[in-house]
Symmetry: C2
Subunit: 189 residues, 2 copies
DNA sequence: GTGTGACTGAATCTCTCAATCAGTCATTTT
DNA sequence: AAAATGACTGATTGAGAGATTCAGTCACAC
């Protein structure tokens, strides 16, 4: 059996269930049925192992986001679908959810860096879609990276932070129409 | 001399310099030249004293925001001016800046509550301006509270968070044009 | 050569005791 | 008598030392 793969799967399981800090290399070794030293022949340290798993997750997320896009639909609908899919990922994907929790209460630096990186990957992804939309004339000229950042921060704000200061959740339809009437409407040619 | 006022000024100074947690009632008493017991004849506890000072600060902030508005200018410019003024306040006003710092590293609950309250006051303030603009026909019908929340989160994101993940700051002109081309343009009739 | 787990020391946790501080109230001052 | 005070209290927090944990290594086994 592929030992490297076994280790990755074991670590992935453990990081998802217990988070970065609470996952020990001894535990990963045990789950993977290898000696601890073996892990270090494939991954130079815990953080590298962690990052490789996160990169895998980012790939998954990109795939999921791409699947939410359909070529016939207008930019606005696709952008909304992508952002909602990403936000869903935050809650549904065990590892992602665990990392957000860990960042909030433990403030593990490695986790912070990784979350920043994930966010940047999302911004880049959305930024690319915006560039494509501009070149197709679907939306007006604009600074793609700024707009992508704006969209992400705004969506995150409504889906993640709104609940903390209000005692009712916003329906997806409310969110969609808000963005349709503001940011997206402003982007149209 | 007005003892109540003396206490308020002393406490305000101390909260601004040392934050909520590091301010002791003994210290406030000393600065105000009163016995500690005297404080408790005017304010039932430390948190109430703190809140009264924060309410004063909110008033100041509202005044500053109102001064940034001019009746002749279009909604968009006024909204931008108000939000930038509020964001400037975050950095310039000693107490506000100190509280943000304390919330980040100490996570004092009393400070968290107060910061949430300040944010809500700002959202309400902006929400009111939006309602007025709608009734004047300056902007289209929309959900004022949602749009206010969106504007605040987006502005905060760019002015407070952008610097953390990028090594260059955004000029105010860049920010202004981004919002002009997106959210504001979408709000126009 | 490959895989292993006992070993190391640096970092973190835990437990104890000391110090701090919000809030009270008996006493003093006006 | 009304207002002001600061020594006092107990609950919470901090500091320090000792114990524990764990990432990473390396001598040995297979």
């Amino acid at each position: 059996m592929d030992r490297r793969q076994e280790i990755l799967e074991a670590a992935s399981k453990s990081f998802s269930l217990f988070g970065y800090k609470a996952t020990t290399m001894d535990q990963v070794a045990k789950i993977a049925n290898v000696g601890k030293g073996t892990i270090y022949t494939f991954f130079s340290n815990k953080e590298i192992l962690f990052q490789e798993i996160v990169v895998k997750m980012i790939q998954e997320m990109k795939t999921a986001a791409d699947e939410a896009i359909s070529a016939e639909k207008p930019f606005q609908q696709n952008a909304h679908a992508v952002l909602m899919k990403v936000l869903e990922f935050r809650e549904v994907h065990l590892l992602y959810a665990k990392l957000i929790e860990e960042e909030k209460e433990l403030r593990t630096p490695a986790v912070k860096h990784v979350l920043i990186r994930i966010e940047q990957e999302i911004v880049n992804f959305v930024g690319d879609k915006i560039k494509t939309a501009i070149s197709k004339g679907e939306i007006r000229e604009c600074e793609p990276d700024l707009v992508a950042y704006l969209l992400l921060k705004a969506y995150f704000g409504f889906v993640a932070d709104w609940g903390e200061t209000h005692d009712f959740e916003l329906s997806e339809e409310k969110i969609a129409s808000l963005f349709r009437d503001t940011i997206f409407r402003g982007l149209l040619p």
